[in-house]
């Protein structure tokens, strides 16, 4: 089985990034919110407050930084800047359909994220919960809205722009659903990160 590190080095080698192997390995995530309601996430990160809306200053990594995307997730950012569950805000019949675009290439295509729980929800955990006073209403479950890219992480190389295109639909009627300022959609990409490490070069 190819490891995350192997895949990063393989892609780096194909792209001629010979110095990436000397950089610091890490764990990382990038996130941003479509506050413009444009249907595109990450492309306007430059204008967003850091870190309350995004942790990026641009939608590309600097020299010798990269991210092997292993998990993609969607959430809702409230007007109070709190992260909320997509299903809790949009209801169970909503579905996000998204593309991930790196450079000029679409690397994930028309991928659905069902509000009620997608594949990779890891649902049905046979969990029962006792109602203990003073909590006299049952605990509710919050479904995952993620794609786990098992064994097939996708590398975002240094200095290449990326973004996520998405649309929201009602899965029952097929009608599009519009986001609002209070229900803006956010997305994070999580995985093995490469950080710039100067070593003895400066």
């Amino acid at each position: 089985m190819i490891t995350a590190q192997d895949k990063i080095l393989h892609v780096a080698s194909k792209l001629g990034l010979s110095s990436l192997q000397n950089m610091q390995g890490s764990t990382g995530a990038v996130y941003d919110v479509d506050t413009d309601l444009s249907g595109q996430i990450f492309s306007s990160a430059t204008r967003h407050q850091n870190p309350s809306v995004t942790n990026l200053t641009d939608n590309q990594f600097e020299v010798n930084e990269a991210l092997l995307v292993e998990t993609i997730a969607f959430y809702v950012l409230s007007e109070a800047d709190a992260t909320q569950n997509f299903q809790s805000v949009y209801g169970s019949n909503a579905v996000i359909v998204f593309d991930l675009v790196i450079g000029n290439k679409r690397v994930m295509k028309d991928t659905p994220i069902f509000a009620s729980g997608t594949p990779y929800s890891f649902a049905n955990v046979a969990q029962t919960r006792a109602n203990i006073a003073p909590e006299n209403t049952p605990t509710v479950f919050l479904p995952r809205h993620q794609v786990f890219m098992e064994g097939a992480g996708i590398l975002i190389p240094p200095q290449v722009q990326w973004y996520v295109d998405y649309r929201i639909f009602n899965v029952i009627t097929g009608a599009p659903i519009a986001a609002t300022d209070a229900t803006a959609i956010g997305c994070y990409l999580f995985g093995t990160k490469v950080l710039l490490n100067f070593n003895t070069s400066i």
Binding site: A4, Q5, Q24, G25, S26, T27, G28, A29, Y31, Q49, P51, S52, V53, N55, E70, T71, A73, F74, Y75, V76, L77, D81, A82, T83, Q84, N85, S121, F122, A123, V125, Q127, I132, P134, E135, N136, T137, P138, T139, V140, F141, L142, P143, R144, H145, Q146, F148, Y188, F190, G191, T192, K193, L195, N197
Partner: protein, 196 residues
């Protein structure tokens, strides 16, 4: 590379001794009554902290000790011991700095709070759950869990190298109780063996 091999590899590169007792290590540090802040720096200030608030006396490991960080945990307590969302659940990022190098950079923490259900990993069963009911605030009823992020890449803290964990936000509220940061993983501790 396994965590055991990675620690030996890094210690070897640095010329650090690697004959210590292998163990599981959990380092923790507390910031009392942080209030609203844009930056919290853990493992930086040890003044006035008891053994119940930190298990280090300086921001570095001893000369024969080193460890691999596998997990970061953050817990925010109210003064009565009730657990709260760290920083009120606002978007925050965490960085780990070892020596003069940032080894984890601006990693967002809010997704692993359990309230929005989008934890990074599958350790967090069913992505988190919560109750709709109002709860009484008594610390015996814990309705929130500590925030935990498991790292995908082993991060080594070598012997005698200063490290720091930095939590950044846009003036998030950390309350009047305390915020605890714990780093857990595989480590080596001093073992005299037959050298004395």
């Amino acid at each position: 590379m396994s965590q055991v091999k990675k620690l030996s590899f890094v210690d070897g590169k640095l010329g650090a001794p690697s004959s210590g007792q292998q163990t599981t290590r959990i380092l923790f540090n507390t910031i009392e009554a942080p209030g609203a802040q844009s930056t919290l720096s853990f493992f930086k200030n040890f003044q006035g902290l008891t053994n119940g608030q930190t298990n280090l006396t300086q921001n570095k490991l001893d000369s024969m000790e080193s460890m691999v960080i596998k997990t970061i945990m953050l817990t925010q307590f109210d003064t009565d011991g009730t657990l709260n969302f760290v920083g009120g659940g606002l978007q925050q990022t965490i960085s780990i700095i070892v020596g003069n190098q940032t080894v984890v950079k601006n990693l967002p923490i809010q997704f692993n709070q359990g309230d929005n259900g989008q934890a990074f990993d599958r350790l967090h069963e069913n992505a988190g759950s919560r109750t709709d009911s109002a709860y009484g605030g008594a610390s015996t009823f814990q309705v929130r869990q500590p925030l935990e992020i498991r790292l995908l890449t082993d991060i080594v803290i070598p012997p005698q190298v200063a490290f720091e964990v930095r939590l950044e936000s846009n003036n998030a509220g950390y309350g009047a109780g305390a915020v605890v940061c714990a780093l857990a993983g595989y480590g080596k501790i001093f073992s005299a063996g037959n050298s004395f």
